[in-house]
């Protein structure tokens, strides 16, 4: 069922392309059937979940590594999945009308449906690795959506920023999850269950005791904070507003940005309730909550204003998780629902205003109350819910948030800090909402607007924001018991124990209610001063985006510098850097740890002919170095190879000897080809000190390799594999030649990989040589032909030897 839902979402996403075909009924509301089917399928599961059940489906993939495709549905994932598919339905219908004239509508809808599939997979995942895959998919699809208008540099910049920030967070998250899995294994969870969310959370109390808990949590925080735009990673979210408005409404308010919150809520019952967890989340969430709310009312772009209130709200959700407890989880799920409803409505109406008036600038709007009354009604309801005015869902949610802070059992300053954050944010929301409302609907229309024929859009477009706005109003009026029964299992999943709660509009006069009303009163007072507040210098915006851009610029400059330095296009520098880094990163640790491991095996029974063969090897090497002509050097170096294969013969490794010999022959031929471009006799172009330096590095490298062999060959760290192969070669592999049986049977997959590498090497050489031929056809080559510098004719001649020599020798 769950797997089917996710598969359905992905499989039907190409149908978005149908939107471009005639008849265009499929655009928009026609295609909205797809998410609607998912929504209906999920609704059918509601009774199971509200009865306290859950659904789990698992397909093992690599059980030995805990990799599986596991989906599970409980209260929390059901709430998210319903929001995703429900708002997804509205958004797809809205997008059809909003982007009616856009030729890219089909492409856009494909991205949207793909994103929806990824997001559903994320919330339904029951294994953290499964979840991670979908997590990254949401980053990628979000990148495509933000960069949808790829002709605009701002859109590209916003898309790149969001991908870099969330991608970076994703990497941190992956490491964090792997650490968590390792910790789970440490405390006795079997490997194939180590990444299973339920097993992980069940072992949560022991995991908290391990040393891995702290680092894992920090990395997971990084992932969650970047995804959910928490300060100081908040800046990508306003940048992401470059996405077409339907995408903003869907991704950047209702769904994707909540992925981080979802992850934290998911992990809360097992890993929460530690000082590290609570205090980090309260500080970061609380700060983002207030920061976003204050920055929001300074914005002039409607979407930017909404973006900042969104990131503020995300901070609020993180704060609720940090406060924890029953009230914390109740407040969390109520806020999620309330926010998803009013914010998607607000974003969609912002899109409508933009669509009808051609601007989202609050200073250029005004007087829309006459021309767009229906839109105004929707915005009013949604804004009232955002402000937390009584009888709207936002009011209920805010009261629960206050209760979460008041009833928190955390030590002294933290609940108070949480309370302050909720109240301050509430004030900010009121001012921001009032400013949005006043600037767009009140006052007189600007002359610009008068020249346009501004009016309410057609019902197909109004329907989408109207539904969530109405729900914000109707749910608290008549449906609170139903909502409570849906939210109870979700809160239970966050809290970790089954319990149920009842939402209510009014029960008694208590501190939470008084504070809530007080905040509204103070907020209203402040709202009358909104012009002065908005212009206030002290409340400066911290422009994280600019800092980030600066950082990326420096990064690119560094990369350019590195490329220029390291990628000189000269073989000798490549070899030099490779050897030096090997000496540094392997040689130094070897000096520190490996020297004691070195054993010089002394074998008294060395035969005379063995000594002769071995001592001929250095002779060949010295001859190579001393050779005056290249031909001589090639022959001398191949004599070394011949001696090595003779050694193999002496130790009765016939296959190795044969292979080595054939490779030697072929490498000699290739070397002849490659060196034929150089003059026959060696000439030194380098100063003496360079040659001495190179000699020194070469000798050090040789010594290191010898030491490594001496240290590792007698190692008994692992039981040797040879006896197994010897015993099973004939019995299991039906072959007497053990080497060959290993190659084609025991290690068949390795061989498969090796011949694939051979093929890739061939393709690269092919490409290099053909590419070079084409480039030579350019007039530039005339210059080259006059002065053929040996070994410097073109990149092709340099690069070619690398894979050739490498690939043929590697196989030996």
């Amino acid at each position: 069922m769950l797997l089917l839902i996710v598969l359905f979402a992905f499989a039907t996403s190409p149908m978005g392309l149908l939107a471009r075909r005639e008849p265009r009924v499929l655009a928009g509301w026609g295609l909205a059937i797809l998410p609607l089917i998912i929504f209906a399928a999920l609704c059918a599961q509601i009774p199971v979940i509200t009865d306290g059940g859950s659904i789990v489906e698992a397909i093992p993939w690599v059980p030995a590594m805990g990799l599986e495709l596991r989906f599970s549905l409980d209260g929390l994932s059901l709430l998210f999945a319903l929001i995703i598919s429900g708002i997804g339905t509205l958004i797809v219908g809205y997008a059809g009308a909003y982007m009616e004239k856009d030729v890219g509508l089909g492409r856009f809808l494909v991205y949207m449906l793909l994103f929806m599939g990824a997001m559903l997979g994320l919330v339904l995942a029951g294994n953290v690795l499964t979840m991670f895959v979908f997590w990254e998919l949401t980053s990628v699809t979000s990148y495509l959506l933000i960069g949808y208008k790829h002709d605009y540099p701002d859109a590209r910049r916003g898309a790149q920023q969001s991908l870099l920030v969330t991608g970076f967070g994703g990497l941190a998250l992956l490491v964090g999850l792997l650490l968590l899995g390792a910790a789970a294994q440490q405390v006795g969870v079997p490997v194939n269950q180590a990444y299973n969310l339920d097993a992980m959370l069940a072992a949560g109390d022991q995991i908290k005791q391990t040393a891995l808990y702290g680092p894992a949590l920090w990395l997971i925080f990084l992932g969650a904070f970047t995804k959910s735009a928490q300060f100081p990673f908040h800046f990508w979210l306003p940048g992401a507003m470059q996405a077409p408005t339907p995408a903003s409404a869907f991704l950047h308010s209702a769904t994707m940005v909540k992925a981080g919150v979802y992850l934290l809520a998911r992990l809360a019952p097992g890993l929460g309730e530690t000082p590290l967890w609570n205090y980090t989340l309260i500080s970061v969430g609380g700060f983002t909550f207030v920061f976003g709310a204050i920055v929001a009312f300074r914005q002039n772009d409607i979407k930017a204003l909404l973006a900042y209130t969104t990131l503020s709200q995300l901070g609020g959700l993180v704060l609720m998780i940090g406060l924890g407890g029953k009230y914390g989880s109740e407040a969390l799920v109520t806020l999620i629902l309330a926010h998803a409803l009013y914010k998607s409505a607000l974003f969609m109406t912002a899109g409508i205003i933009d669509h009808e008036t051609g601007t989202r600038d609050l200073n250029r709007l005004g007087g829309l109350r006459h021309t767009m009354p229906v839109t105004m009604a929707i915005v009013t309801v949604a804004l009232l819910s955002q402000m937390g005015i009584p009888i709207l869902l936002g009011f209920v949610a805010k009261e629960w948030a206050l209760k979460a802070a008041l009833e928190s059992t955390l030590p002294a300053p933290w609940p108070t800090l949480g309370l302050m954050a909720v109240l301050l944010a509430a004030l900010g929301y009121i001012v921001a909402a009032w400013r949005l409302f006043k600037q767009s609907f009140l006052g007189a229309p600007t002359p610009e607007l008068l020249t346009r024929h501004v009016h309410d859009p057609k019902p197909a477009m109004l329907l989408s924001p109207a539904i969530p706005a109405l729900l914000s109003l109707l749910l608290p009026l008549g449906l609170l018991p139903a909502v409570s029964s849906l939210l109870s299992p979700a809160a239970a999943a966050v809290y970790g124990e089954r319990f149920s709660f009842e939402l209510y509009l009014y029960k008694e006069v208590n501190l939470a209610l008084l504070l809530s009303l007080g905040a509204i009163a103070l907020g209203t007072l402040l709202a009358t001063q909104e012009q002065r507040l908005a212009a206030h210098r002290v409340i400066a915006t911290v422009s994280g985006a600019e800092l980030f851009d600066h950082f990326i610029d420096r990064m690119l400059a560094l990369a350019t510098w590195m490329t220029r330095t390291l990628q000189s296009g000269r073989m000798r520098t490549y070899i030099l850097y490779s050897l030096l880094s090997f000496l540094l990163f392997v040689g130094l640790p070897f000096l520190a740890y490996g020297l004691d491991e070195m054993r010089i095996p002394y074998d008294a029974e060395l035969q005379f002919h063995e000594i002769v063969v071995v001592s001929l090897i250095p002779v060949g090497i010295i001859a190579t170095i001393m050779a005056r002509s290249r031909l001589g050097a090639i022959i001398a170096v191949s004599s070394v190879g011949a001696m090595v294969s003779l050694l193999f013969v002496l130790f009765s490794a016939a296959d190795l000897a044969l292979t080595q010999l054939l490779i030697e022959v072929l490498s000699t031929v290739f070397l002849l080809f490659l060196f034929s471009v150089l003059p026959a006799r060696f000439r030194s172009f380098s100063p003496a000190w360079v040659r001495w330096r190179d000699a020194g590095i070469a000798i050090l490298f040789g010594m290191l390799m010898t030491g490594l062999v001496l240290a590792t060959a007698p190692s008994t760290m692992f039981p040797p594999l040879a006896p197994y192969f010897l015993e099973n070669s004939l019995a299991g592999g039906k072959g007497a030649n053990v080497v060959n049986v290993i190659l084609v049977d025991f290690r068949g997959l390795d061989t498969m990989g090796e011949i694939t590498v051979l093929f890739i090497a061939l393709l690269s050489i092919y490409g290099l040589l053909r590419f070079r031929t084409q480039r030579n056809a350019l007039p530039l080559s005339g210059n080259e032909q006059q002065r053929p510098l040996p070994g410097a004719t073109s990149n092709g001649s340099h690069a070619a030897p690398v894979p050739t020599a490498g690939s043929s020798r590697e196989e030996a």
């Binding site: 022959v665 072929l666 031929v669 034929s676 039906k734 093929f759 196989e811």
Partner: protein, 160 residues
Amino acid sequence: MQKQVSYESIILRVVARLMLPILLLLSVFMLLRGHNMPGGGFIGGLVAASAIILQMIAFGPQEARGIIKINYLILAGVGILVAAMFGLPALVADLPYMTAFWIPEPIPGIGKIGTPVIFDLGVFLTVIAVTTKIALLLAEEPELFPLAMADDQEGGAPQV
């Protein structure tokens, strides 16, 4: 500056011509005996490739191409495909990919036949194709790699 590559050594040509069939036979022999005696697809492939490369050195790349008139790039791909196919029968039998199957009795004159022999054949083809093609690619760039070792006097290396 274009150098004329000469492939005119009588001795080499005679030897190469004699050796070609022997080496090619040897390569197949190596391939087939590989499972029980030294040899196998990799060695067999190298032997066959050196046979062709020997022709190339003796007669030039044109002649060498004529020995096996085939697109080596495709041959290499076919080799990998053949090697990859050998693991498939196991999947049908619901065993892990690449589980080997053998015909119970050895076939006279050829020996035991099983899926690993097919795998070895794939390795054989890929190794022949890759090695030969690289050599041909190099030989067909006389401007880049003029094969005949330039003499010190006429090498045209700039004096630095």
